[in-house]
């Protein structure tokens, strides 16, 4: 038959919602458990002698720095992704640079704007396609080709790559983030706070070294908040704010 009754339509969507709200969390949870197991095994099962305190300190320092972004991201992406795609997106990551564009292109191809049920299904399909390409390129280009390539590199090159990968990444990332965020005030605050902490505070109080980044994050947030423009947002600004929210937050840099 060519047309569905209203009840059949809602029954189909109900079934979709049921499946995705059960299997979405299950698969995301599985991913979580597998990686947790790997992390704990690496720390405690391999016999390298990591103590729980050492791991807790390391994790604590990382979470104090990035935890807040981890809480805000789901909130920002939810309106765009919709409920079912959240479980796909937060399993795979690469949301802003890969999954979102894939979803948007597919929706545009079928002339559908985000927000409808139809758009939700299209987005889910597109993400599946993107994920398959993601996995394939990782396995072939990184797993096989990359490993072979790196195996051919002379040790001095490997040593260089290890020793200097941090500045090699951060220089680009900082610039990219500054350009992407388009927020002069916050940028200035961040530079000042970071410089103060790294060049002044930590040398004076070396005990703070571990938590330099966490401290910088907290102070930058507080200072940016107080330094924010107090004028109420005009509709144009509000739209720009909305646009910025949907711009890559933590992922200018995949």
């Amino acid at each position: 038959m060519s047309t569905s009754t209203a009840t059949e339509t809602s029954a189909r969507f109900a079934a979709f919602d049921r499946t995705t709200s059960i299997w979405g969390p299950i698969t995301l949870g599985l991913g979580l458990l597998i990686s947790l197991a790997a992390a704990l095994y690496a720390a405690f099962g391999t016999g390298v002698g990591v103590t729980p305190l050492e791991l807790a300190t390391a994790v604590g320092a990382v979470l104090a720095t990035f935890g807040i972004i981890a809480v805000i991201e789901p909130v920002s992406y939810f309106p765009i992704l919709g409920r079912s795609a959240m479980y796909q997106a937060f399993l795979i990551g690469n949301i802003a640079n890969k999954l979102l564009p894939a979803a948007i292109v597919a929706q545009a191809n079928l002339g559908e704007k985000p927000g409808t049920r139809r758009a939700e299904l299209i987005a889910g399909s597109a993400i599946i396609g993107a994920v398959m390409v993601h996995i394939t390129t990782l396995i072939l280009l990184v797993g096989v080709l990359g490993t072979w390539l790196v195996g051919m590199l002379p040790p001095p090159l490997i040593a260089t790559a290890r020793s200097y990968i941090l500045p090699a990444i951060f220089g680009a990332v900082v610039l990219q983030s500054v350009m992407a965020m388009k927020s002069r005030r916050t940028t200035i605050v961040a530079v000042v706070v970071a410089a103060a902490i790294v060049f002044v505070v930590v040398p004076l109080a070396p005990a703070l070294t571990y938590f330099a980044t966490a401290l910088a994050v907290i102070i930058t947030i507080a200072a940016s908040w107080f330094a924010r423009s107090k004028t109420p947002l005009s509709p144009a600004d509000a739209d720009a704010g909305q646009a910025r929210r949907t711009t890559p937050i933590s992922e200018p840099i995949h």
């Binding site: 690496a42 990551g93 993107a130 930058t220």
Partner: protein, 245 residues
Amino acid sequence: MVVAVVDPGSTDITPLIHHPVLWASAAGVFAVVILQSAIYFKAIRKAAPAAELTPGQVNSSVRSGAVAAIGPSLAVALIAVSLLPLFGTPAVLTRIGLVGSAAFDVAAAGISAGTQGAQLGGPTYTQKIFAIAFAAMTIGGLVWMLTALILTPVLSKGDAKLRKVNPAIMAIVPTAALLGAFFTLAFQEVLKSPVHLATMLASAAAMGVCLLLAHRFRLSWLREWGLGVSIIVALSTAYFMTAAA
């Protein structure tokens, strides 16, 4: 493959980064991703008629998504390869395959090595440091999954709550956190050595050029490839500086 002895103090981290358990977890992660995609695909196909989507349209959406992902995937692959010397293949596959991002994972690893007074790469990068770095960056990445798991049902029920949150918070807080964290990390690198400083400047310069060209000539793919290109340029700079020394 010879599985050499696990030795915490050893700077030969090869036995650890290629540990079978790490390979198994990489395989496990990919299997879960494929499983989820299969389940979602079936669910979408079943619901498609209700949304007036033909099976053909579903398939073509999958194809559009796949094609759209090619460019970004290649760009990410380049970045991932640049991380292979540091973390080894299974760790990189797991992290980039799962909610991972080069910048965050490297930052997390660097921070956690710092808590032990060590650095990534160099003489202090022992098996133990790799283990802590891997564990900490993995657990850091988990938190995203956890918050997504907890918040998604909450957000589904309470759209109204979202609107009560001051939009300025959503605009300012993540920006401040991101910039604060990465500027601090960048400045810390500057302190380490002139080569670190030069590498960072080279990286920023390369990115600047990519962004400029992308903007001027409207080459949006350059934006995607910016980080990968910058890493190569920066590492080359570091190599020539240290080789010339």
